[in-house]
């Protein structure tokens, strides 16, 4: 395939811009290197995130690009934040609006249903992924649809939608560039906003060469993007149905809102005669005043861009077409009743917690082996399958940065700690951790044993040969230097410097 390079593609003016997901400085990869694949999935067995993370880190070019790219997004976010005086007030409002809506979710769902139905939208309810897929297939079959164009939706990833449709002979074409790359490579998205961020340009060139016939030796991002545009456009024009997700659902007006940078949701929704939107029940907000708060926060938090290029509001079908909304529960109503974990439902899927997380940036989203990766994944994934994702809450340094950047103020790092407690209480803990925790528990339970152990540990840290500290059992030693240990413990220092004569020591 030869893609004509339009002059807009080489516009020097564009080099100075960093809107959308663009990086604020060039981050071109230097070498080509085989792409590390994600976590090995073995049925219901617990996912080993650190095994996959080690393979990602061993691919140094991938790791360096991933880390630099996401940290750049985090820095862009900070810059935007500093430009808005009321930023913290907006975060408080966003959190408050979501908590209010979740506390009356039944009321707002019924209100949305009533208003949307009055405007000609057909509203469906699905209790899980399987029911969602069956509802959509039924709509498509009854209208003879064989080709469906689709914009990005994490919910349909949750539902295993593409695999289901493939088995039922409906061709599904993802129209977001990153999502299309992942679809053509038969790989899940690694990030909620930038699905192919773990791939280098050379990885994309090799996927496109195999699947859409691009030049395998041309890894220019402009060329590859143009190839995808030209390959996808005829499919957009011939599809019989379009599908989108929904970022926000406004109950009082019966509107659902979709945010994209490529305009692919608008094309998917407006070109074919049938539009189906799959939306999680937690996406509800009350009114348009509330919507303003979220539109101001979403893209700024996600990418450090003031707004997405396209913010699309659907309130009813256009003349001569059909519009369906499938409201999907898939575990959400159950999560609403979890005392410690319900605030996770406030999430607006901006990915800011992923961009800031040192573990995510170094290990890649596919290492989590779950639909949701990064800090938000650590607290959502176990609600889907507590056994399979029991190791994930340990993939965190507990630095709290995720909580600090979250636009809806989810207490992510506290929930990670709560999950560790909950999992240990449920016996969902790996054998190695169990032994270590037991030993640590015995030492920490007795002040005498604890104090006696400290100088030993300190001396050991100082004198043990490198290989004994940085080995396979000590996962914290990997890719990390342990800080210099102090010469005395705090207690020793206190006794020498501050302790008044006659003060006893309790033990």
């Amino acid at each position: 395939m030869t893609a004509e390079l339009h002059e807009e593609l080489t516009d020097p003016h564009a080099d100075q811009l960093d809107h959308g997901a663009a990086s604020s400085r060039p981050l071109k990869s230097r070498i080509s290197e085989p792409q590390p694949r994600g976590a090995k999935i073995r049925g219901n067995r617990p996912v080993d995130q650190s095994e996959a993370a080690n393979r990602f880190m061993a691919a140094t070019e991938h790791e360096a690009m991933h880390d630099a790219r996401l940290w750049d997004l985090r820095q862009k976010r900070d810059k935007e934040m500093h430009g808005i005086e009321e930023w913290e007030e907006l975060r408080d409002l966003a959190s408050g609006i979501k908590e209010h809506t979740l506390s009356k979710l039944d009321y707002y769902l019924e209100l949305f249903e009533k208003n949307a139905t009055a405007n000609g939208i057909k509203v469906h309810w699905a209790k899980d992924g399987a029911e969602h897929n069956a509802i959509v297939l039924d709509i498509l079959r009854s209208r003879g649809v064989e080709l469906l164009i689709k914009s990005k939706s994490m919910l349909t990833e949750e539902c295993g939608f593409r695999e289901f449709m493939a088995k039922n002979n409906v061709e599904v074409i993802e129209t977001d560039l990153g999502e299309r790359i992942q679809q053509l490579d038969d790989e899940a998205p690694s990030h909620v906003v930038v699905p192919a961020v773990h791939k280098l340009r050379t990885d994309v060139a090799s996927v496109f060469a195999k699947t859409i016939g691009s030049d395998p030796d041309n890894a220019d991002a402009h060329y590859l993007t143009e190839c995808q545009r030209e390959a996808t456009r005829p499919l957009i024009l011939s599809a019989q149905a379009g599908m989108t997700g929904g970022n926000f659902v406004v109950a009082e007006t019966g509107t659902f809102v979709v945010c994209t940078n490529e305009g692919n949701a608008d094309l998917s929704a407006n070109t074919p005669p049938l539009h189906i939107a799959s939306i999680g029940i937690e996406k509800l907000i009350p009114g348009l005043d509330d919507l303003a708060v979220f539109i101001r926060l979403l893209s700024r938090s996600a990418l450090g861009s003031p707004i997405t290029q396209y913010t699309s509001h659907f309130r009813g079908p256009r003349e001569g077409s059909e519009m369906h909304v499938v409201l999907v529960d898939n575990g959400r109503s159950e999560r609403l009743g979890m005392e410690k974990f319900w605030p996770g439902l406030k999430c607006i899927r901006c990915g800011a917690c992923m961009n800031t997380c040192p573990v995510f940036r170094r290990s890649g989203g596919l290492s989590y082996g779950a639909t949701y990766a990064g800090p938000i994944g650590l607290i959502i994934d176990p609600t889907f399958n507590v056994h399979k994702y029991r190791n994930l809450p340990y993939s965190s340094t507990m630095n709290g940065s995720c909580t600090n950047v979250c636009p809806v103020k989810i207490n992510i790092h506290e929930q990670i700690a709560d999950w560790r407690r909950t999992l240990a209480g449920d016996g969902e803990i790996s054998p190695v951790k169990k032994v270590m925790m037991k030993a640590a528990g015995e030492v920490l339970a007795s002040p005498v044993v604890y104090r006696a152990s400290l100088p030993l540990g300190r001396s050991a840290l100082r004198h043990l040969p490198h290989f004994m500290l940085y080995n396979k059992l000590n996962t914290w030693g990997r890719k990390r230097d342990i800080p210099e240990t102090p010469k005395q413990t705090f207690n020793e220092w206190y006794r020498k410097n501050r302790k008044q004569p006659g003060e006893g020591e309790k033990s």
Partner: protein, 197 residues
């Protein structure tokens, strides 16, 4: 499925552990709004990859003609400009695909983000906003609001079935963060301040 509707609502009612939380009032945050919103709109639009055309007092449509530099059909949805194509009641969404330039009028603009709002009233056929290669847009400076809070006070949201904010052209940076305009939608977006007649 109707059984699921009741099951979901029932589960929600059973699981309301948070008690009822008050709905916050959202301020407009517009005390710092400048008197002239045009300059802020222009800065924001350019930040998002859009371009401003320089008005011409003697020949108001000259900037639009000058912005049309590539061969191909020009579709006009505004009375001020004569194109090669017009929307008719028979026009289908896919008929817009060959269009090189579409000339549209925005319902209003948002200075904070450089956004342009279109509804089916301005687009006639919704794909007019996305299938052409390029857009040239007329915006009445009197129809610029300061920020998104003000924007959502407008009447369009409860009148139209479809409404979109376009903020610059279609863009992607999914490959190594390299910004590319024209991922799926329009490759360029130019705006001319021009009062509605």
């Amino acid at each position: 499925m109707s059984g699921s509707r009741e099951a979901i609502l029932g589960a929600i009612r059973k699981n309301h552990v948070q008690g009822e939380r008050a709905r916050p009032a959202v301020p407009l945050f517009d005390q710092a709004a400048p008197f002239d919103l045009k300059a802020l709109f222009q800065r924001s639009l350019e930040r998002m990859g859009g371009r401003m055309l320089t008005p011409d007092a003697t020949d108001p449509m000259a900037p639009v003609r000058q912005a049309i530099v590539k061969p191909g059909p020009v579709l006009s949805c505004v009375p001020e400009f004569e194109g090669d194509m017009k929307i008719t009641p028979q026009t289908k969404p896919t008929d817009i695909a060959p269009v090189e330039y579409a000339v549209l009028r925005a319902a209003f603009g948002v200075a904070e983000t450089g956004s342009l709002c279109f509804t089916e009233k301005q687009l006639h056929v919704n794909t007019t906003g996305f299938l052409p290669q390029h857009l040239v847009i007329l915006l009445d400076p009197a129809q610029i609001v300061y920020n998104l809070h003000n924007a959502y006070q407008r009447p369009e949201w409860t009148q139209a079935h479809y409404a979109v904010f376009q903020s610059g052209p279609s863009a992607t940076a999914d490959i190594e963060g390299v910004l590319v305009h024209g991922a799926q939608g329009v490759r360029s977006l130019s705006v001319l301040f021009h009062p509605a007649s």
